[in-house]
Structure formats: C-alpha cells, structure tokens
Symmetry: C2
Subunit: 490 residues, 2 copies
Amino acid sequence: MFPRLELDPAREVPLYRQLFEQIRVAIEDGRLAPGGRLPATRQLAEELGLNRATVIAAYDLLEAAGLISRHVGRGSYVAAAPVRSLDWSALLRRFETHSTPPAPWSPAEDAISFATSRPSRELFPMEDFRRTVEEVIDSAEAADLLQLGSPSGLGALRRYLLERAQREGLARPGDDVIITSGCQQALDLLGRVLISPGDAVAVEDPVYPGIRFSLERAGARLLGVPVETEGVDPEHLERLLREEHPKALILTPNFQNPTGATMPLASRMAALQAARAARVVVIENDIYRELRYQGSPLPTLKQLDETGNVVELRSFSKVAFPGLRVGWVIGPKALVARMAEVKQWTDLHTDQLSQAVLLRFAESGRLERHLRRVRRAGAERLAAALEACSESLPSGTRFTRPHGGMSLWVELPAPLDAAELLAKSLREKISYLPGRYFAVSRSHTRSLRLSFAGVETEKIRRGISTLGRLFTEELERLREAAEEPAPALV
Amino acid sequence: MFPRLELDPAREVPLYRQLFEQIRVAIEDGRLAPGGRLPATRQLAEELGLNRATVIAAYDLLEAAGLISRHVGRGSYVAAAPVRSLDWSALLRRFETHSTPPAPWSPAEDAISFATSRPSRELFPMEDFRRTVEEVIDSAEAADLLQLGSPSGLGALRRYLLERAQREGLARPGDDVIITSGCQQALDLLGRVLISPGDAVAVEDPVYPGIRFSLERAGARLLGVPVETEGVDPEHLERLLREEHPKALILTPNFQNPTGATMPLASRMAALQAARAARVVVIENDIYRELRYQGSPLPTLKQLDETGNVVELRSFSKVAFPGLRVGWVIGPKALVARMAEVKQWTDLHTDQLSQAVLLRFAESGRLERHLRRVRRAGAERLAAALEACSESLPSGTRFTRPHGGMSLWVELPAPLDAAELLAKSLREKISYLPGRYFAVSRSHTRSLRLSFAGVETEKIRRGISTLGRLFTEELERLREAAEEPAPALV
C-alpha cells in the first residue's frame, strides 16, 4: 500500500519537498518496504492533483538520496538498503526541569505583552547609540576589537567597571571583574565553577527561571526561601542556612524578578549575618539596581559585606540594550580567574564590538542620560499599572507595590488559576507569565507576573483593565458553579 | 611575632594594598591572634623602608574591614572576632583536564607568535567594516537589534545562512540553523545536549584543545583517532567505531587544527560509511573551509551525507573577525531546537549587533572580497613557512604541507622535546604551542604547531629560521652529550 500523503500548499516548504519528505519518512520507517514499487509519476500526480513536474522533482530527490532506484520503462522502486537516520529525539539528553516559559520574543504588533521583563524599544536613544558606535569604529583601537580577545573581557571595559566598583565600595581589595555574555552567562559560569551535583543552593521562591535552570543544569538541589512584599523573610532564611548549610545563596535585593520586592536594609544585614555564620557564598543579582523610580538607593549586600564572600552580578541589559550581550561579575580573584578559565572553553570571550560600544556609551555620559529618561518612563508606567490593578482586579486580589524594576506580582483570589486564565487572555491578545514558571517549592498557581516596563502607559491601562474584566467574570462563573446544588449520585 | 611581609613595588597593586592584603591574610589564618598588638605605623614604615603614609593607609583599610581596632595613644590591635573569608580555592570545582594552553591573546609587539590560530590584524578591511556597521546602525531595523532577541539567532541571518546552505547542498530537508556565540559555543552546546557522563566520543589526535575541553567537561570519554598528513586514517577509524560504538565522532576534514591536514574524498566517503554503519553522530567542524590556498574544494561530509546524521559547524571567526563572536550550526531540527533551549539558559542569545554586522558584511559581497585578499596573503605565508621549514629545521624533522588553513604541524627528530625547547624560544621572543596541548591518547612530545596565518611573511621567515637554529643547536648538544663516556659507577 502506498502511504497516505498530506500536502499543504500554504506551507513555506515547496510541494515537491513535502512530497519527498513524506515518502522518505515512509521508506525510513518501513511503511514502504525495500523493493516495493512506487506509483508512476503521472498516476501519483493525478491522484494528488499535482503538476507531474512536482512529482518528478520529488522522485529526483529520492533517487539522489539513494532511497529509490528508477529504471526506464520499468518504474521506480524503493532501494534495497534504505538510508536510516538516527533517532535524534532518543539521542538528546533530557533535562529534569519544570516547564520552560515561552521564549522571550515579541508577539504580534497589536498585542499587549506583560510577559517579558525587558526595556522599552521606543525609549532606545537611537541617535546617541549611532554616535557611540561611530566613535568606536572610528577610533584607533577599532581593529583590536576585531581580533581575538581575552576570556576575562576587554581590558578598557574591565578597568572602567572595576574602578567604578571601587569608588562605589562594591569592589574589595582582592576583587576582580570578568565580563560575561550577559548576566545569564554569569549564572551559567557560576553553576559550572561552584556547584557539584547534589550541592544545595538557596534561591528566592518565586525566582527568575534563568536562575533556576542554570543551577538545575549544574546539578544543584534548590531550596526555596519565600519572597514576600519585603523580599525574603530574614528569619526563614537564617533558619534554612543554619539547618541546611547550602553551598550558595542567590538574592536579588532590588526589585526582584518576578515580585518587584526590595529587601529593606535590616533584612540585608540579617541575610549577610546569616550567610556569614553558615559560611555560605552569597551571589547578589543586582541587575535592576539603577531602575529605582522612588525612594533612596539602599546599600548592596556587596557594599555591606565585610567577609569578601559576596559575588556581585551586573549587566547592561536592563539599563541599556538587551540585544547587546554584556554583563559583568565582581568577586574574589580566585573565583573570577576560574570563571575566565571555564569561559574560554564555553565561548572564548564576550563579543568585543558590543563591549566597546557599551563602554563608550557609559563613559560618554549617554548611559546616565538614557537612564534618567528610562526612570521617568518607568515611574509613569509603574504608577499606571498600580492604579489599573487597584481599579480593575477582582476584590481579594493582592499585588506588590515595587519601588522600581520591571515587574509586579499579582495573587488572585481562590479558586482562580492564572495558568488557566492565560488562554482566555491570549484570545484578547494579552499575555503574562503565570506564577508556576517562577515556582521553586511553592506552586504559585494563583499568581502571575506583570512586566510593565516595556509596555506603553496607555496599553498598560487597557491591558490590565481587560485582564481585570476577564478575571472578575471567571471568578463569578466559578462561584456560581460552586453554589449550584450537587447532582444526585446515581 | 609579626609575620614576614614581602612587598613588591613592581606590581600593579599599590604598596598600601599589598600591605593590607598580607596583614589581612595573617589575621584571617590566625598567624596574628585576636587581641594581638600591631607595630606602630612609624616603626613598621622604618622596618619595611616605606613611607609612613603607606602604612597608615593600610591600617585604615584594616580598620575599615573590621580587622583591627585603633586606640589613640595605645596602638592598634587585632579585632576580637576577625572576619573570615571563605576559602575560595577549596570551594571551586576542579576539572580533570590536561594542562590549559596559554590564553590566546597577544604577546609583546616585537615578538613573533606562532602560538594562536587567528587571522591577521593588518588584513582587516577597516573601511569596509566601518561602512558595514554604518549601514546596519542607519537601517530601519537598528532598534530591533538592541531589543531582546531569539536564542536561535537573528531571523535575517538564519534565513541567509540556511538558504545558502540549501543552495550548496549543505542543508537537507528537515535541517535547521542556530546561531552560536562562535564555534566554541556550538561545541559546548553539543556537549550539553548530546553527551551524558561516560559517553565515548571519537576525536582526532592531535586535536584542537577547545574540542577536548568541551567534551571532557560534558563528561565524555575521548577516543583518539590518529591524524596523519592525509587526516584520520579511515581504517583505524572504521575499526574504532565498530569496536567502541562511540556516541559521536568529531572531524575537521579541511585544514585540521593543529595539523593542517585535509581528508581526501575517499577518506571522507569511508568515514561517513563507517559512521553510518556504527550509527554514530558525525560533527563536522568546517570553520577553515574557505581558507583554501591551493587545489579545488572537496565536498564536505555534510554534503556527501545521505543519512541526515551529520552536524555542520561553521563560523565567521576565521574568515572575518574573531572579536565578533558569531558561528552557526546546521543540523536536524530536533537537535537544533534542543540546542536553542539550552542556549536560552546559557546566554539568552548571541549578540545581535554583531550578527547584523556580519550578515551585512556577507550579503554586501565585502566578505568575499576580504576572503580573496586573505587567501592571497595566506598562500604567500604558507609558502614562506614551508620554505623556511625546509631550509632551517634540523634534518630528520617532518612537517605537514597544508593546502589551506592557519597552521602546520612539525615533528622534530628524537630526542628533542618541543615543550622544553619553548622556554629557549621564548627567550628569543618566539612562541608556538607544543604538541602536548593537542594530545588525546598519544603524547606528541616531539611535535609543535606553527600557526602562520596571522604572522607577516618576513616574520615567518625570521621566526622559523631562528627556531631552526635553536632546534639544531639543541639537537647537537644532546647528541654530543649522549656520545660522552658514561661516568664510572662508584
């Protein structure tokens, strides 16, 4: 029997390729046995309503691939020893991870996406960016940027960041800087140099999935520390560190992703004290630091630390351009040197054109000017989001009130389920990330993250208002259903 | 007892920092006990021959770090509960690797480095590069480049590379492309998605250390296939695949690093046949392909393959600018999709400015123009290197005669040792990489890699001539020593 073929003229793949592919698969999985005769091209073309040339082109490919042999006047036959592809899905390693969040790129133009924690495209200062790039490529050092570089990063950028960190009391004597391909790579490298399979690591719960995945892939056993409106609870943290002695603790003290929560000074001191007593490495993820929209900056864990046990992660992605992948780590020399060693065999070094562009962007004062604009827009967007949440979300909803950053965290009243509601929201072209993507040991089924920083104010209002209507309707529907008499048991 | 202090005014670190660091370590490891008194600043300054201000600055830092307390008129004391740093060297994971080669960046200006396999800085077409960058940043899509991108790579670059690969018969139906942060990251991602600890992988011996390290870190057990002047020996390879059934085989058929060897067509067919019979994934590292200086291009393994089991690694680094980190992989969709998933949590995505610049550089025809110039220079440098090797290296030396690429491989006569000779060569400011850096199961002590592509012709002649003199002198010395009568045994 010749297999049933399903061709779709709407697909990008030309019909002859589709035909080739389907017959190839039928041969490779044995539905067409070696020696079996294929229909004549004219006959198959008629059956499928295709041009005969299309069928001939497909047979040509099959022949070129050694899958069939053609004999003038006798027809085409499945070749004796069909070529067998490897079963790739069986070859690939499986990773024991929670469900992967949707990839962080853009939905349709008219959609409203609260799903990705990224800056606003329309705020990019294109004229300043162009001027910066031109200064870099016209400089005498431009050719050096094109040559192979150092795993530790571009010398000039490292010096700039280290000196700034020293001035700010972020770098201690004995600290060094390594440039990474964004903060995500810093997490990956730390997982590789610090974590052995089975090591425990304490993380915030809920937590940014990129932190969870890096550590899980390194074989870490994750211990969740609950995050509330004021960040991790210091008493819970102290107890966990004392009892479990994890190897490391990762904290995001400013505008944590996903909750937007900020740790007050007292919590920071207590966390450091607990980490010091338990001799735990502290990794401070402070990539949102400069996105404060209200109140005064608090000292970082790294600034407060007296032990040299805090590793600081920073990045240009949230404050400038995420498309240029440049982050950095400030930490003890021994750690930074080992990270550079591993980085060399991971990707040799970070892209040098972007390192030079971001250095020039910072040094020239343009980054600071851009940040002022970003903070003004962020303050406005945050205010709009909070106002819309107050007005529109069903009563019984709780949400965080961040002082900066990119996201806020909403907990809906029971029995709503944020993941189930997402399908309805997407039909209205509004997206967000349900709480379970950020789960460590709690499930967060009623929660969701709203990333507001990349969305224009008007869309924030409209989007949250629509979400509020959907959530309220669903809540009423579920409550009515619960009130109906139970059907008789028969 | 106050510890012995060793300060070095030649170091970059200021003296007061050195002093601070050494006293800090002495306090932390207990040589200076809590409550112990430090010498007065004046006294210590005299003892060490330092300015007193230097000592005061160090004591200030110690006090700020909570390590000492100072009492006016009574002196300085080690604080009661000294802050203890973690022992970072004990915390960091150790990797079971062979010795790491020196990092691939530039030595002094007047040195001659045959040590790194990289393009020539003075051949970079800076005007074409500047024009390309300007076109990219002036385009309507420039702002999109700055926004968060896709783990699979920039859409326009992926389409360009996939279409080109289809035209060249490199991409099969069902293949896809992922952009990586250079070819090194492709190896790293392949290690992560394909290799489980204990899996065997066949590699060339000698092999590029970046291949060995990626696989070793993934937990692979490496099986070396000897490379001779015509690449891997097909019979040896066939036997090894049949007997050991490794999960994957990595080959560099064109101008292999470090040997410069190229596999003839018959070897390529035989290798594919053996891999197909043993159901082994073939990873074809073809980053030197376009650097052919003589003869006609041979079809790649990927072009010859009929099974869909070959994964192709390519990169812009060797043909354009290694400082911009952009490579790509062509392979079965299932594999490419899994690589993208892992890449997302490794570094989110590859830098987008450089992806767009290299796309424009290729599309505009400037890459092809640059390549013509690079090939002309490469041919001249290769000829100079081969001539100098013939003229200067001691008799009994064997060396490869590559048809392209960046390196050639020299095997010195016994009892010379290339690693021992390197010290002498460095004194004459000439560097190369000894064979042992490329070792898998053979030791290659008599061999060395000469990377000629990034060195100007005149320096190639001078450098190899000097090496020849050194090697010949050492050979004569060793032979004379061997001829001397053995001393009496007493």
